[in-house]
Symmetry: C2
Subunit: 317 residues, 2 copies
């Protein structure tokens, strides 16, 4: 099969071995995939991953139980043991023995086929196009913010970063009716938020008054946390969505002095994301900057790095 | 008066100007003071403080309202405006305009006299010696941990750092009946914890299994947070008591991936600390390594830096 692999360098492999399908797994024929900041971080050494890249996808079930065969699906990325203390305590996304599609110990979906546990499948309603469904995984990660930190209309909330994830997190927060601003650098990305009725501020014009109840760092860089610590009020909350391969420089003393809550945040609830897209609460089509065929993955990765790019998709089928 | 000052370098000044006493303040005759890690950090540039050092003290009220005059007191260190948004919302320790005794914008207590707001005074019960009362301020900071993060007996809790603050935090946690371990480097300091019935582990023998519900970083160094991130379970809590002048190196990616709560923690409830000492729930006399007269403050600061030192006191009167 065709596949985009990382083995110390990024490559398109036109004749990669087909996936082996383990017990309890099924084979998915991939339609469309999305490139995420985590994919870029893997190229910088994050998680020491080697293999087929990719974890955002929509596809069709080709083999497996009859109730799934032929259905269009999106796929949770954490593949878990169901036996460790984390799985038993209801935190299976934190399974001690997990593999993570295209991120840790398991091939991803930038390929014609990918093998995944049947337990990870979610059916895609007919109302959703592939171009919408491919956003379910990152939108679920955005919903994780409000799952971890309840948001109400009185709250003064700021999202730092107006890119792919920042836009999705902002749309999720906007639905909660809080006082919301998004801080970003690129005018086109800020405009996308403005078009959804979300107030924006250019990062050069920010006056940090330490008055935000909640700040969500979606920058993907250590500078995001530093700005967040200047924005958040004493005893306020910072949700960290950013991971990066390199060491982070911030001195956390301001967070200690101001008794800030810093919450790490990763994967989220797929069903909420599917429902939000189905009822039109979150709009994603305007975020698609470019769609490349799988063969042009290297050009697609170059495009993702451009500051004006929001979302780049790889079309497989 | 005599005073220990920091003006870019540490000095003992035998003829420092007496404090000016503002409206609502009273003058305290200082008996006994404690040197804290924060005092050392100030010498490294923390908070850019200049003036009389010191914020842990017990003394006698010399001037002020009659109900306080002549009483033995300990003193809250945050001097607040009672008018800003933080004061109005019940978070006056985070007052926007606060000065902090010996730390920020206000002279401290390593001196014969110190002027403080009457609102900051707490009476010391006769049952407490000066040597115990001087621990009220750091013990209150230790109680802040359980004020911010409720602890119950099922919880697996680790304190990183067996020094002054680590010992106090461990004693506060031990009283909650949780499964507690203290990690430290110095054998004598670990023994002090063992004598209170607290299990200890030398830092070289730690096997980090990411299974602690709560980890409290009392190391005063960036390495404490790195170890805490390896000890804490997914979705567990790290309480950060460490501030330092230098930039901190940790990469927070593990805290994002494991969705850890990081809670900054600073000053705490004085009355709980006074009560705990009065009823003997916390023992502090064994922590006193040396007592120096005020004139020998420079030697005292040298003593604090030795690895085997726990608490160093400065006797003023």
């Amino acid at each position: 099969m065709r596949a985009v692999i990382y083995n110390g360098s990024l490559a398109f492999d036109p004749r990669h071995a087909d996936p082996r399908v383990a017990d309890g797994e099924c084979l998915i024929g991939v339609h469309l995939t999305g490139i995420c900041a985590t994919d870029l971080h893997i190229l910088d050494g994050y998680m020491n991953f080697r293999g087929v890249l990719g974890h955002e996808m929509v596809g069709t079930v080709l083999t497996g139980l009859s109730r799934w065969k032929g259905r269009r699906v999106v796929v949770e990325i954490n593949c878990v043991c169901r036996q460790c203390d984390m799985c038993h305590s209801g935190l299976s996304n934190h399974c001690r023995k997990r593999t993570v599609m295209g991120i840790s110990g398991r091939d991803g979906c930038f390929a014609d086929f990918v093998a995944v546990p049947e337990a990870n499948l979610h059916a895609v309603p007919d109302a959703l196009s592939d171009e919408e469904a491919v956003f379910v995984e990152p939108l679920a990660a955005a919903y994780q913010v409000v799952a971890q930190c309840p948001v109400d209309p009185r709250m003064n909330v700021t999202v730092v970063g107006a890119g792919r994830l920042g836009n999705l997190v902002a749309q999720v927060l906007a639905e909660k009716g809080c006082k919301l601003t998004v801080i970003g650098r690129n005018a086109a990305k800020l405009l996308l938020c403005e078009k959804r009725g979300i107030q924006t501020i250019h990062v050069d014009e920010v006056v940090a008054r330490a008055d935000r109840d909640l700040v969500v760092d979606c920058t993907g860089s250590p500078g995001g946390l530093e700005l967040a610590m200047r924005l958040v009020r004493p005893r306020g909350t910072i949700v960290l969505k950013s991971t990066y391969a390199k060491r982070a420089p911030p001195n956390l003393a301001p967070a200690v002095v101001n008794e800030v809550h810093i919450l790490g945040s990763r994967c989220g609830p797929f069903e909420e994301a599917i429902n939000a897209l189905a009822r039109g609460a979150v709009e994603v089509r305007s975020m698609i900057s470019r769609v490349f065929p799988l063969e042009q993955a290297l050009a697609a990765f170059d495009a993702v790095r451009r500051p004006e790019t929001v979302k780049v998709l790889l079309r497989v089928k």
